[in-house]
C-alpha cells in the first residue's frame, strides 16, 4: 500500500483553472456604467460558491444576503431591507471563521459604503441610478474620443491616409499619439474577453508610418468669422485648440515662451521615444490651418511680457494652456549642491539641443514615474558610467509604465527600491559626492490597496554619485495668472470640465495647467473641448466631421490569437544615442492585429445607443 501520492490536478480542476483565467479577462474588460448592486450580487455568488459550508454565518448568511440583494434588484426591498443587509454583512464579517466568509462579507460592507445611494435608488425609484454607457469601450476611455474601431479597420484595409484623416477629426496629433500615447483606450478593450486587448497605439503607428501626417492635407476650413482667439502655450493642448478653432473659421494666435513649439512633446519627452522631426510633421499640419505663432513671448506680469488683461481686451476669447513646467523641490539637506538638477531642467536642455555632458559620471535619479524613467534613459544616452534610480517604494509600486522601467533596467540602470532619499552629501567645493538614503520595508496596505513603506531598522545607506536628477513631479507656474485675477485650485488654474474658468468671462483653460501633470491625449482632449466651447461662446455651432467611409466589419471568426507587440532596437544599438528605438509592425502583423478588433462600433450596445459620433 502506498501512503502518499503526488497531487496532480484532474481534468475538472484544470478546466476550472482555465475558467478562472477567462473570468479574470472578463473582469478586465468590464465596461463602466454597470449596475453596482447587480455586480455585487454576482461577486457574492462567487464567494458563496467558495464557502466550505462549515460555519453558519458564511454558509447561511451569504445565501440570505444573496436573497436580500435579489429583492433589492427586483424592487421588493424597503429601507429596512437595506439595514438588514448591512447588519447581516457586518455580523458575518465579525464571526466567520476564515477569510472566505469574512472577506466576502467585507466586500459587501465596502460596497455599502461606496454606493449606498444606488441601493437606495433601487428601493425608492425601483431602478438603478447608473446608466449604461458602454457604447464602445475603447472610445469611451479615450479622453479625446477618437474613432478607434474606425481607424483600426482602415489600417486593416491599408487605407493609412484615411486613418490619419479620421483620427484628426478628434485629435490633430496623430503622430505624437502613435508614438507616446499612454493608450488608456486599451485598458478595457472588449477583445480582452477573447484573449487580450488590441494593440491600438501600435496600429496608429502603422498609419502614420505609412502616411506621414504632413502628407495628409487638412479638411476644408469654414468661412472666416473674423473672431480672434489668443492661445497661451504652444503645447499639445494649446495647439489642438488652435487647430480646431482655425478649422471653424476663427483666427488662433499662439503665444509661446520657448524658442520652439511643442511644449512637453519637445521639452519633456526625449527624442528616442518621439523624434523631433516626427513632432514637426504634426506641427506642420496644424500650422497649415493658418495658426499665427509668437515664439519667445511670455504671458505674465513681468517686464517685457504681455499681460493677460491686454490679451483679454484685444481678443474675443483666451485659452490658457501653459502646462506644468515648474520643478518640485524634494526638500532634503544638500539639495542646492552643485550637480543636483531637476528633471524639467535636464529635459529642457536636451530639448534645446544643449546636451549636458554626463560622460564617465555616476548619476542617481530620484523618483518612480515616467519622467524619472525618461531622465534615467536620457542619462544613459548622455554617456553616464552608471545610472541608479532611488525610489522609496518597490518597483511594482512605481507609477511609470512597466515597459519603461524594464527598458531602463535593460539598458543597465540600477534600481534602488525601498530607499527613501535622506540627504545629499557634497564635497568642500559644494559638489555632489553621494546620495544618502534611508532603507524601508514594505508595510501596511492603505484603503486604495497601495502598500506603504515604513522605516527599516537598519543604518542609512550611501550611494556615491556625481549627478542627482530630481524627478518627483512638476508644478504649475500659475503665479502670474493668479495675480491677473484667475482663480486657482491647489495651484492649478480652476477650469470647469467645459474649459471655462470660474468668474472669468471668455477665458478658458485646460491641459496640464488645469489638471496637474497628466498625459498628452488628455491635454489634446482639453484643447478640443475648449475649441468647441469657445465656438459656442462666440455664438457659433460649427461642426467638425470627417467623411471617410469606414469599412463594414468582416464576418471572419474571432478565434483567439496573440497580440502583436512592437519590437524595440536591441539594447546595444539604442542606449548610446537618442535615435528612435521603437520598430513599427509589419503589414502582415498590422492586418492580423486589426482583424482581431471586435468592432464594438457595430456589435453590442452601440448598435442601439451611441455607436459612432460622426461629428462634434
Amino acid at each position: 500500500m502506498s501512503r502518499l501520492k503526488v497531487e496532480t490536478p484532474d481534468r475538472v480542476q484544470l478546466t476550472v483553472e482555465k475558467l478562472y483565467k477567462d473570468l479574470e479577462r472578463h473582469i478586465i474588460a468590464s465596461p463602466p456604467g454597470l449596475c453596482p448592486v447587480d455586480l455585487q450580487l454576482s461577486f457574492l455568488k462567487v464567494c458563496q460558491a467558495q464557502t466550505c459550508g462549515k460555519c453558519v454565518p458564511c454558509r447561511v448568511g451569504l445565501l440570505q444576503l444573496q436573497h436580500l440583494l435579489e429583492d433589492v434588484l427586483n424592487g421588493k426591498a424597503t429601507m429596512k431591507t437595506l439595514d438588514l443587509i448591512e447588519q447581516t454583512a457586518k455580523n458575518i464579517e465579525a464571526s466567520a471563521d476564515c477569510a472566505i466568509g469574512y472577506e466576502a462579507a467585507h466586500m459587501l460592507v465596502a460596497g455599502f459604503d461606496g454606493f449606498r445611494e444606488d441601493y437606495e435608488h433601487h428601493v425608492k425609484e425601483g431602478c438603478c441610478s447608473v446608466h449604461a454607457q458602454h457604447a464602445i469601450p475603447c472610445v469611451a476611455l479615450c479622453p479625446a474620443q477618437v474613432d478607434i474601431p474606425g481607424y483600426v479597420a482602415l489600417v486593416g484595409e491599408k487605407r493609412y491616409a484615411d486613418a490619419v484623416r479620421l483620427i484628426r477629426k478628434d485629435n490633430p496629433f496623430p503622430t505624437a499619439c502613435a508614438m507616446i500615447c499612454e493608450h488608456p483606450c486599451e485598458a478595457r478593450c472588449r477583445r480582452s474577453m477573447v484573449d487580450v486587448s488590441i494593440n491600438i497605439r501600435g496600429l496608429k503607428l502603422m498609419a502614420v508610418e505609412h502616411a506621414h501626417a504632413n502628407t495628409v492635407p487638412i479638411p476644408e476650413k469654414c468661412a472666416s468669422t473674423g473672431k480672434k482667439v489668443a492661445i497661451i502655450g504652444g503645447g499639445p493642448s494649446g495647439l489642438s485648440a488652435a487647430y480646431y478653432l482655425e478649422l471653424m473659421g476663427h483666427h488662433a494666435v499662439v503665444f509661446e515662451e520657448k524658442k520652439k513649439l511643442g511644449g512637453m512633446l519637445r521639452y519633456g519627452i526625449p527624442n528616442y521615444r518621439f523624434p523631433r522631426e516626427r513632432l514637426d510633421e504634426d506641427l506642420e499640419v496644424i500650422l497649415s490651418t493658418g495658426v499665427e505663432v509668437h515664439l519667445n513671448t511670455r504671458i505674465g506680469e513681468e517686464e517685457g511680457e504681455i499681460t493677460l488683461e491686454s490679451l483679454n481686451k484685444e481678443y474675443d476669447a483666451v485659452y490658457i494652456a501653459i502646462g506644468a513646467h515648474n520643478d518640485k523641490k524634494i526638500g532634503i539637506e544638500g539639495e542646492n549642491a552643485q550637480g543636483v538638477i531637476s528633471a524639467v531642467e535636464l529635459l529642457k536642455r536636451i530639448g534645446d539641443d544643449d546636451m549636458p555632458d554626463f560622460k564617465g559620471k555616476d548619476v542617481v535619479v530620484i523618483g518612480g514615474g515616467n519622467v524619472a524613467m525618461d531622465c534615467t534613459r536620457s542619462a544613459i544616452r548622455l554617456g553616464a558610467r552608471k545610472v541608479g534610480i532611488a525610489y522609496r517604494r518597490r518597483q511594482e509600486d512605481m507609477t511609470a509604465l512597466p515597459e519603461e522601467i524594464e527598458g531602463a533596467i535593460a539598458e543597465g540602470a540600477e534600481l534602488y527600491g525601498l530607499k527613501s532619499p535622506h540627504h545629499i552629501e557634497a564635497d568642500e567645493n559644494g559638489k555632489v559626492v553621494a546620495l544618502w538614503v534611508e532603507p524601508q520595508i514594505i508595510g501596511p496596505i492603505d484603503a486604495w490597496g497601495r502598500a506603504r513603506p515604513i522605516h527599516a531598522e537598519v543604518p542609512l545607506m550611501r550611494i556615491p554619485c556625481d549627478v542627482i536628477v530630481v524627478a518627483i513631479g512638476q508644478g504649475i507656474d500659475s503665479k502670474a495668472f493668479e495675480d491677473a485675477g484667475i482663480s486657482l485650485k491647489r495651484g492649478a488654474i480652476a477650469a470647469a470640465m467645459t474649459g471655462e474658468v470660474e468668474n472669468a468671462d471668455g477665458i478658458f483653460a485646460g491641459g496640464d495647467c488645469a489638471t496637474g501633470p497628466a498625459t498628452v491625449i488628455k491635454a489634446i482632449a482639453a484643447g478640443k473641448v475648449a475649441a468647441a466651447n469657445i465656438d459656442e461662446y462666440l455664438g457659433y455651432k460649427h461642426i467638425i466631421s470627417c467623411d471617410v467611409q469606414i469599412p463594414e466589419p468582416d464576418l471572419a471568426e474571432k478565434l483567439p490569437c496573440g497580440k502583436v507587440q512592437l519590437a524595440e532596437k536591441e539594447v546595444g544599438a539604442r542606449k548610446n544615442n537618442f535615435q528612435p528605438m521603437e520598430i513599427c509592425m509589419s503589414e502582415q502583423e498590422a492586418c492580423q492585429e486589426a482583424g482581431r478588433c471586435l468592432r464594438c462600433d457595430k456589435f453590442g450596445f452601440s448598435a442601439l445607443k451611441g455607436g459612432r459620433r460622426l461629428r462634434w
Binding site: L73, G126, C127, A132
Partner: protein, 583 residues
C-alpha cells in the same frame, strides 16, 4: 452587383443589400422581431439568424450585408434550433395570455411562435411587472414587453420626443420612461407611433369601450358619433374582405347597427375649420403678426409645441381641431336644431389618433357648457367594437350621414393626409382673396407624391415647401409631418433660416392616415395608400371647397354669423396652453 446563393438559389443583388432584403427578392421570408427598417437595426432578438457556409457563428440577416460568393442557408438545422430557442427565451419573459390581448390575431410574436411550433416552454416563465398609470391614454403593459427597443427608437428618431429609455443593466435591463418618471409627467405627445410600431401588446391605447357599452345601453342617452376623415380609409383593412366593401356608407350603416343614434361626419367640422382658420390666416397676413401661422388641428403637434416651445404658442392658430369644433357644435347648434337636450347627448368621436383622447378631456374644451366631446375611440377600438357586435359589413346597406351637420366637402376629407389642411385652406383662401374660384386641383404641389422611400416611418414624413401667387402676393407655405421634422423646421425658423406664412404640421408621419390610433400592419406603412384613398374621395365629391358646403353656409347664417364672430370665437377658438390633466 454581388453574387450570392440563398437556399441553393443563385441571386445577384446590389452591393450593400442585407441578407434579409436579398432573400425577400427571392420570396424567401426570414422571420424577425425587433428589426424596423431604418429605425431599429440593432439585431437584438436574434430571430433572423442565418447560416453562412464555412462560418461557425450564425449571423443576423437584418444587419449583415451580402458579400461576393456568400452561400446562405436561411433554414438549416442549426438556424432552426437557434431561432426556436431564442423565441422560447423571449416567451419565457412574456405574459403569453393571447386570449385577452389586444394584439391577438395581429401579433408578430404570436405568429412566429406558431410558425416555429412552440407549444410548450422548456423554461420557467418570469415576467417583469412595472407600475403604470392606467388612466393615461397610452398604456404600457411591462409583462408583454420583449425589449425590442422599437418604441424607444421611433420616439427618438422619428418623433424626437425621447420619452423612453433603457433602465438598469444586465439581466435587469428594462424599458421605462426617462428617469422612470410617471408617464403623465413626461412630454409624451400621445402621437401613438410607439404603439403602432410595437410588435406586441405591450403598448396600447386606454380601452374606453366598456363606457361606450354602458352608454349604448342607457335609454336616456342620445349618442352622437363623429368619424374623422382618416378612419374611413382604414376601418376594414382585413384580409378576408374583398375590395370596395369599405365605403363611407357602409361605415355609417355599421355604426347605426351598433346602436349609435346619430352618425355624423368630422369632415363637416373640417370645413368649418377652414372657414375659421383661413380667415384667421388672412387677418394675420394683413397685419403680418405672429407669423408664420401654424395649424392647430393635430393635438399631438399642439401638445408638442406647448411642452417644448411655449414661446411660440402665439404662432398657433387659435382655431380648435375639427374634433373639438364638432363637439362644441353638437351640444349647441345641433342640439337646438334637433331639439335634443344637450345634457342628454353623449358625444363620441372615432379618430385615427390617441392624442385626441387627451385633447377631449382638457379643461378648456367645455365651450358648450358641457364637456364637448365625451369619449374618443381610436380606429382600432372601433374595429374591435365591430368585431364584438359580429357585424359583417358585406351584409349592410349603404346609409348617408345624418344631418344637419353631417355633410363635408372634398376639401375637408383631405384633413386626414399630410398637406391636406393646407390644400383645403388654399382652395378657400383663394376665393376669399380674389373673389374667384381656383380650379380644385390648383394646389396639388403640397402633396407628397414620392412613389418610393415611403415604406418606413423615418422617410414617410417630411418637410415640403411651396409658394403660391394669390392676387399678386406670394404665399409661402410649408407642410411637415413627423415631429422630428417639425423640430427641424422650428430650429430653422428660430435661426431665421426659413420664412413661411403658413405651416401645416401633423405629428404622425404621413398625417392622420398614419395615425397612432390606426390599425397596425407589421413591417409596412399604410399611410401612403390610405392617403391616396382620401384623394380619390375628394375627387369624387361634387363639392370640393369648404366654403361651398351648404350646411356650413347655413351654420353661419343661422347661428355663427360669420367666421371669427364673437360666438365663433367663444365656441371654436381657444388659447392653447399646456394642461397636464387628462381623464
Amino acid at each position: 452587383m454581388v453574387n450570392v446563393k440563398i437556399d441553393n438559389i443563385d441571386l445577384s443583388v446590389e452591393e450593400g443589400t442585407t441578407i434579409l432584403e436579398a432573400a425577400k427578392k427571392l420570396g424567401i421570408y426570414i422571420p424577425h422581431l425587433c428589426y424596423l427598417k431604418g429605425i431599429n437595426e440593432i439585431s437584438a432578438c436574434k430571430v433572423c439568424v442565418v447560416e453562412i457556409q464555412g462560418k461557425n457563428k450564425l449571423v443576423t440577416a437584418c444587419s449583415t450585408a451580402v458579400s461576393e460568393g456568400m452561400v446562405i442557408f436561411t433554414n438549416s438545422a442549426k438556424v432552426r434550433s437557434v431561432r426556436k430557442s431564442n423565441v422560447e427565451l423571449i416567451l419565457s419573459q412574456h405574459d403569453c395570455l393571447c386570449a385577452t390581448c389586444v394584439r391577438s390575431g395581429n401579433c408578430p410574436l404570436q405568429t412566429l411562435a406558431g410558425h416555429l411550433g412552440i407549444y410548450d416552454l422548456p423554461f420557467e416563465r418570469h415576467v417583469t411587472e412595472q407600475a403604470w398609470d392606467n388612466n393615461f391614454p397610452l398604456i404600457r403593459d411591462s409583462k408583454k414587453c420583449i425589449k425590442c427597443m422599437r418604441c424607444l427608437q421611433i420616439c427618438s428618431k422619428v418623433q424626437g420626443c425621447d420619452i423612453w429609455d433603457v433602465q438598469n443593466t444586465g439581466a435587469y435591463t428594462n424599458i421605462s420612461t426617462v428617469d422612470n418618471m410617471p408617464i403623465s409627467n413626461t412630454k409624451c405627445t400621445l402621437c401613438g407611433q410607439c404603439i403602432t410600431h410595437c410588435p406586441t401588446g405591450a403598448l396600447k391605447e386606454r380601452n374606453d369601450l366598456p363606457e361606450i357599452y354602458d352608454i349604448l345601453a342607457d335609454p336616456n342617452k342620445v349618442t352622437v358619433v363623429q368619424i374623422a376623415p382618416a378612419v374611413r380609409t382604414a376601418w376594414l383593412e382585413r384580409k378576408d374582405m374583398e375590395p370596395g366593401i369599405d365605403t363611407e356608407g357602409r361605415l355609417v350603416a355599421a355604426l347605426k347597427r351598433m346602436g349609435f343614434d346619430y352618425v355624423l361626419d368630422t369632415v363637416f367640422a373640417a370645413d368649418v375649420t377652414i372657414m375659421e382658420e383661413g380667415t384667421e390666416l388672412l387677418e394675420r397676413l394683413s397685419d403680418n403678426k405672429k407669423m408664420p401661422m401654424f395649424t392647430s388641428c393635430c393635438p399631438g403637434w399642439v401638445s408638442y409645441l406647448t411642452m417644448n416651445h411655449p414661446e411660440m404658442l402665439l404662432n398657433l392658430s387659435t382655431t380648435k381641431s375639427p374634433q373639438q369644433i364638432f363637439g362644441a357644435l353638437v351640444k349647441t347648434y345641433f342640439a337646438k336644431k334637433t331639439g335634443v337636450a344637450p345634457e342628454n347627448i353623449c358625444s363620441i368621436s372615432i379618430m385615427p389618433c390617441v392624442s385626441k383622447k387627451r385633447e377631449a378631456a382638457l379643461a378648456s374644451m367645455k365651450a358648450s357648457g358641457y364637456q364637448d366631446v365625451d369619449y374618443v375611440l381610436t380606429t382600432r377600438e372601433m374595429v374591435r367594437l365591430l368585431r364584438a357586435e359580429h357585424i359583417d359589413p358585406r351584409g349592410l346597406q349603404e346609409m348617408p350621414f345624418d344631418s344637419p351637420i353631417g355633410d363635408g366637402t372634398g376639401a375637408g376629407v383631405l384633413f386626414g393626409v399630410t398637406g391636406g389642411v393646407m390644400e383645403a385652406a388654399l382652395r378657400t383662401a383663394y376665393k376669399v382673396v380674389t373673389g374667384e374660384e381656383a380650379p380644385e386641383d390648383a394646389f396639388q404641389k403640397v402633396r407628397d407624391t414620392r412613389s418610393e422611400g415611403r415604406d418606413n416611418a423615418i422617410n414617410l414624413g417630411g418637410i415640403r415647401t411651396a409658394d403660391f401667387d394669390i392676387a399678386g402676393r406670394t404665399l409661402k407655405t410649408c407642410v411637415v409631418s413627423g415631429l422630428k421634422n417639425a423640430e427641424r423646421l422650428i430650429k430653422q425658423i428660430k435661426r431665421g433660416e426659413a420664412h413661411y406664412d403658413f405651416v401645416e404640421v401633423m405629428a404622425c408621419p404621413g398625417g392622420c392616415v398614419g395615425g397612432g390610433g390606426q390599425p397596425i400592419h407589421e413591417g409596412c406603412e399604410w399611410a401612403p395608400q390610405r392617403g391616396q384613398r382620401l384623394y380619390n374621395l375628394d375627387k369624387k365629391r361634387k363639392l370640393r371647397r369648404s366654403h361651398e358646403n351648404p350646411q356650413v353656409q347655413k351654420l353661419y347664417k343661422d347661428f355663427l354669423e360669420k367666421p371669427l364672430s364673437e360666438k365663433a370665437e367663444k365656441l371654436l377658438h381657444t388659447q392653447h396652453v399646456w394642461e397636464k390633466n387628462y381623464r
